[in-house]
Amino acid sequence: MTAVLLSIHVLAAIVFIGPVTVATSMFPRSARAALAGDGPPGAVEVLHRISRVYAVLGVAVPVFGLATGAAMGVLGDAWLIASLVLTLLAAGILGLRVLPEQAVVIRALRGEAEVAPRTVRGLSMSSGLFALAWAVVVVLMIVRPGSTTGV
């Protein structure tokens, strides 16, 4: 059963978090082009939609990760706790910074709000931090410093 849970966990990470990373990193460049008038606003909307929808589906990754950890009895391990803290950080960056600021850009493209160049620059930075945080989690999941279970 552990193998099934672990498979779902890894598959969800690849299928759900991968697209969010790509879409959020592509968003600032497309947004800048569209705001300057030399890029399609539709592309920006699609990138925002991917970021939003897959972020919700990505909830499956930590949930199935916790289930796998519980089944393996490693929930108290330091590497796992560190990963959980970093996952929370990544989720916070995505949910509280990246997605709301993307929504501001979308509204600006529809002419409903103003957007400062600072917002788009901030988006580049927070998207990068999100990608970095979860890349570190992936490395922690593979290296598992201090772990004695060889799966």
């Binding site: 059963m1 099934v4 849970l5 779902i8 939003r52 929808v53 972020a55 919700v56 589906l57 909830v59 499956a60 949930v63 199935f64 916790l66 289930a67 089944a71 949910g95 997605l99 709301p100 600021e101 929504a103 501001v104 509204r107 409903e112 709000a113 103003e114 957007v115 400062a116 600072r118 917002t119």
Partner: protein, 99 residues
């Protein structure tokens, strides 16, 4: 649409878990339906926060098992009361977003 699916998954997975608990109590069922229920529960909360700013609606999402259904009913009611009411998308942009 997403909220509808998440609400259904939240309720159905809880029923599966409880029926399993009082009948066969098979461990694989618990291990699979448990995380599924957890995902659906968190997805309902995330989707509710994204779709309404009303504190009451957001609190309803936290109710275990039927939170999703309660939020759907809440959203349908506020929609009927005022066409733009309760929906975050239609409300005016917050000042902190204009930088």
């Amino acid at each position: 649409m997403g909220l509808r699916i998440a609400a259904a998954a939240e309720a159905v997975s809880l029923v599966v878990l409880l029926v399993n608990l009082v009948t066969l109590h098979l461990r694989p069922v618990t291990q699979l339906a448990g995380p599924l229920h957890g995902c659906a529960y968190l997805a309902v909360i995330a989707l509710t926060v994204a779709s309404t700013r009303a504190g009451r609606g957001r609190l309803l999402a936290l109710v275990p098992g039927v939170g999703g259904a309660l939020v759907l009913r809440f959203l349908a009611r506020t929609e009927r009361a005022s066409p733009t009411g309760g929906r975050g998308i239609a409300s005016p942009p917050r000042s902190r977003h204009i930088r």
